[in-house]
C-alpha cells in the first residue's frame, strides 16, 4: 500500500480540530447539497442532467434562504428579549 493511501486512511482515524466558530457553520452547505441532490434524485420522474442540476440548485437555494431567514428571525427575537 502506498504512503498516500496510508495517509488518507489514517486521516479517518483522527478527528478534525475545530470549535464552534462562525466558519464551522459552513459545514452546513455540503449537507444541504446532499439533501437537495438525494431528494431530487428520488422525486424527478426522469433524470436529465440540465433539468436535474436546475431543480437541485433551486432546492439548495430555497433551503439556504429559509435557513438565513430563520437565523435572522431568531437573532432578532433574542436581541429583543435580551435587549
Amino acid at each position: 500500500m502506498s504512503m498516500e493511501a496510508i495517509f488518507v486512511i489514517a486521516s479517518f482515524t483522527v478527528p478534525e480540530n475545530f470549535g464552534p466558530n462562525p466558519q464551522s457553520m459552513l459545514w452546513l452547505l455540503p449537507l444541504v447539497a446532499a439533501i437537495a441532490i438525494i431528494y431530487k434524485a428520488t422525486k424527478l420522474p426522469t433524470i436529465k442532467a440540465g433539468n436535474f442540476i436546475k431543480e437541485t440548485s433551486l432546492l439548495f437555494g430555497s433551503i439556504i434562504v429559509f435557513i438565513i431567514i430563520a437565523a435572522l428571525s431568531l437573532h432578532a427575537l433574542a436581541w429583543m428579549i435580551t435587549g
Binding site: 486521516s11 479517518f12 478534525e16 475545530f18 459545514w27 449537507l31 438525494i38 434524485a41 428520488t42
Partner: protein, 135 residues
C-alpha cells in the same frame, strides 16, 4: 397462480429493499435506473465519508453513549456500519465536542437519506409490479 405471483412480488420488493440497504443505489440499479443509482451511491457515500473524516470513525459509536436514534440512522447507511462499529467499540477512537457532533449529524443524515432511497426503490418496484413496464 395469482397467489404465487404475489409472493414473487413481495420477495422482489424485499430483495430491492435489502439491496438498497446493502449498497446505496443498488435497489435502483436493479430497477434499471442507472443514473439515479449512481447519483444516490456517490452522494450518500460522500456524505458518510465527510462525516467520518470530520469526526473520525469514532463517531460510529454503536455500543457507547450515542443516542439510539443516531445509531439507528447511522446503521441505515449500510450493514457495513455495524462492522465499523465493532472496530470502534470500547471507545477505541475517542472523539468529543464539535467534530463529534458534526460527524454524527453527517453520518446519520446520510443514513436517513439512504432510508428515503430504500423506500423510494421499494415503491418504484411495487408500482412497476402493478403497472405495465415503461419503454
Amino acid at each position: 397462480m395469482a397467489v404465487r405471483s404475489r409472493e414473487k412480488q413481495t420477495l422482489f420488493l424485499l430483495v430491492v429493499g435489502l439491496l438498497s440497504w446493502l449498497v446505496p443505489g443498488a435497489g435502483h440499479l436493479v430497477l434499471k435506473e442507472k443514473e439515479r443509482a449512481i447519483i444516490i451511491f456517490v452522494t450518500i457515500l460522500l456524505t458518510f465519508c465527510v462525516g467520518i473524516y470530520i469526526g473520525s470513525i469514532g463517531v460510529i459509536n454503536l455500543y457507547g453513549s450515542t443516542p439510539w436514534y443516531v445509531v439507528g440512522a447511522q446503521v441505515m447507511n449500510s450493514p457495513m456500519v455495524l462492522l465499523l462499529g465493532r472496530i470502534t467499540a470500547h471507545n477505541a477512537y475517542p472523539v468529543y465536542g464539535w467534530p463529534n457532533e458534526i460527524g454524527q449529524i453527517y453520518t446519520s443524515t446520510a443514513g436517513l437519506l439512504n432510508l428515503l432511497c430504500i423506500v423510494n426503490a421499494v415503491y418504484l418496484a411495487y408500482v412497476r409490479g402493478i403497472e405495465p413496464a415503461r419503454g
